[in-house]
């Protein structure tokens, strides 16, 4: 298989980037998308050129490190799939493939396809936790939690923090990411005590990081590798409104 790539190359945070064309031959359909980039990088090394930088680690769709815009779509054409799980079967011989970093003001480009997603860490720092220090925990079966509740909390907690929701959002909103965390914690009895404070802090932090607001276009749910539901955004809003009303 032979592909024509147009890849975003950018030196560092400050510099302006550009799309650069590459022709890659000898691609097998069994390769993953990242292995295809490995192949190209290997050839760039042979030519003495700087390799294309991209984030990746687990290569099995769970760490959330990888992520790029492939042909204008976050993580490429498949839904429920990270970039590392995308395989070359999804492309046609001779196709032109556009590869860009996830873009958002809150996700500055470091180099090529590598971006800075520390905004997500800051949102969690602002309140995305249950304050339980080591040693304080009661016996785990002392608080029964309904099966359905745990499953619902899990659905929200499944977020891998890749940033595809932000990348695909026309407003670069982090609402899906933040709301998934709020949902995960507020559904569980352990997380209810801090709910009001948490939601106000986390929503404010989203703004402070420079993410946009949510217009409910629901594109994020489609692109989310973990298929996290937009209804969590509803729950976040509910929690937020409740906190506003009940605030002393």
């Amino acid at each position: 298989m032979k592909l024509y790539l147009k890849v975003w190359r950018q030196e560092n945070r400050e510099s302006k980037g550009d799309m650069v064309s590459y022709v890659v031959e000898g691609i097998s359909e069994h390769m993953s998308f990242l292995e295809m980039l490995d192949l190209l990088n290997e050839r760039l090394i042979q030519k003495g050129e700087r390799v294309i930088e991209f984030d990746h680690d687990c290569r099995e769709g769970i760490c959330g490190a990888c992520g790029m815009m492939i042909n204008g779509r976050a993580h490429g054409p498949l839904s429920g799939t990270t970039t590392c799980q995308l395989h070359m079967r999804s492309f046609k011989d001779g196709e032109t493939v556009y590869i860009e970093p996830f873009r958002a003001a809150a996700f500055p480009v470091l180099r090529d396809l590598k971006i800075d997603r520390s905004g997500f860490d800051h949102i969690i720092q602002s309140g995305g936790y249950i304050s339980a220090s080591t040693g304080q925990a009661p016996e785990s079966n002392s608080i029964p939690i309904a099966h359905e509740t745990t499953e619902a909390a899990f659905d929200a907690a499944a977020c891998i923090g890749c940033g595809a929701c932000v990348a695909t959002c026309k407003n670069s909103s982090a609402a899906l990411f933040t709301s998934a965390k709020i949902s995960h914690l507020v559904l569980l009895p352990q997380g209810k005590l801090e709910a009001a404070d948490r939601v106000i802090k986390m929503v404010s932090q989203m703004d402070a990081e420079g993410f946009g607001h949510c217009s409910n276009t629901e594109a994020c749910e489609v692109e989310c590798p973990q298929e996290i539901s937009v209804l969590h955004i509803g729950r976040m809003n509910y929690q937020y409104n409740k906190a506003l009303i009940l605030k002393k």
């Binding site: 204008g72 003001a105 695909t168 409910n216 969590h232 509803g234 809003n237 937020y240």
Partner: protein, 221 residues
Amino acid sequence: MKQTTLMYKLVMAVTGLFLCFFLIIHLLGNLQLLSPPAIAREQFNWYSHLLSGNILIKIISYVLYLSIIAHAVYALILTRVNIKAQGSQYVYDKRGQVSSWNSRNMGILGTIILIFLVIHFKDYWYVYKFGHLPLDAKGNKDLYSIVISSFQQGWYIILYELSFIALGFHLLHGFFSASRTLGLYQPKYAKVVRVFGWAYSLLITFGFMLIPLYIYFNFNS
């Protein structure tokens, strides 16, 4: 407490829903135009008079003006925040494949509605309030005649119909979106609201669209 974009969005949702509610009243009033001309004239003019006199209605109308302004102002603020949040643009962008067009273009749709509102206010509200109108048999200002005569012009009809289509798409996303903003998250009720939103949007849109066409074809012939 620091203002957040979510608070702005709440204002938009509340004002938007108020406008949605008002549209029902407005449509019900306008449907009187579909009655036989003699009855329609009296009823419609009486109704218009009612709207301009009652103190309760006055208060509501001020809320209405305020809502439109607040809705538009916050739309503008949020749009500016969004543009800033986007940072650099994608060179090759196919994100549109995963969301509906109207949900992404509420601003454009809203702007069309706003322009329409300006024209609409100028032609009726302003004329009614400050213009010199003939009186009808009951002594009410004869807005009916103005309405009928303005809908004799083809371009005016087209302007209205296009605006209503824009409104329809705005409502189609807006109604359900407001419910989400206000915090509806139970899947069951979210579905109910979505179905209701569709029905509401279709009724309002086609209701409003029907009136100019009815007048145009009934009175021109």
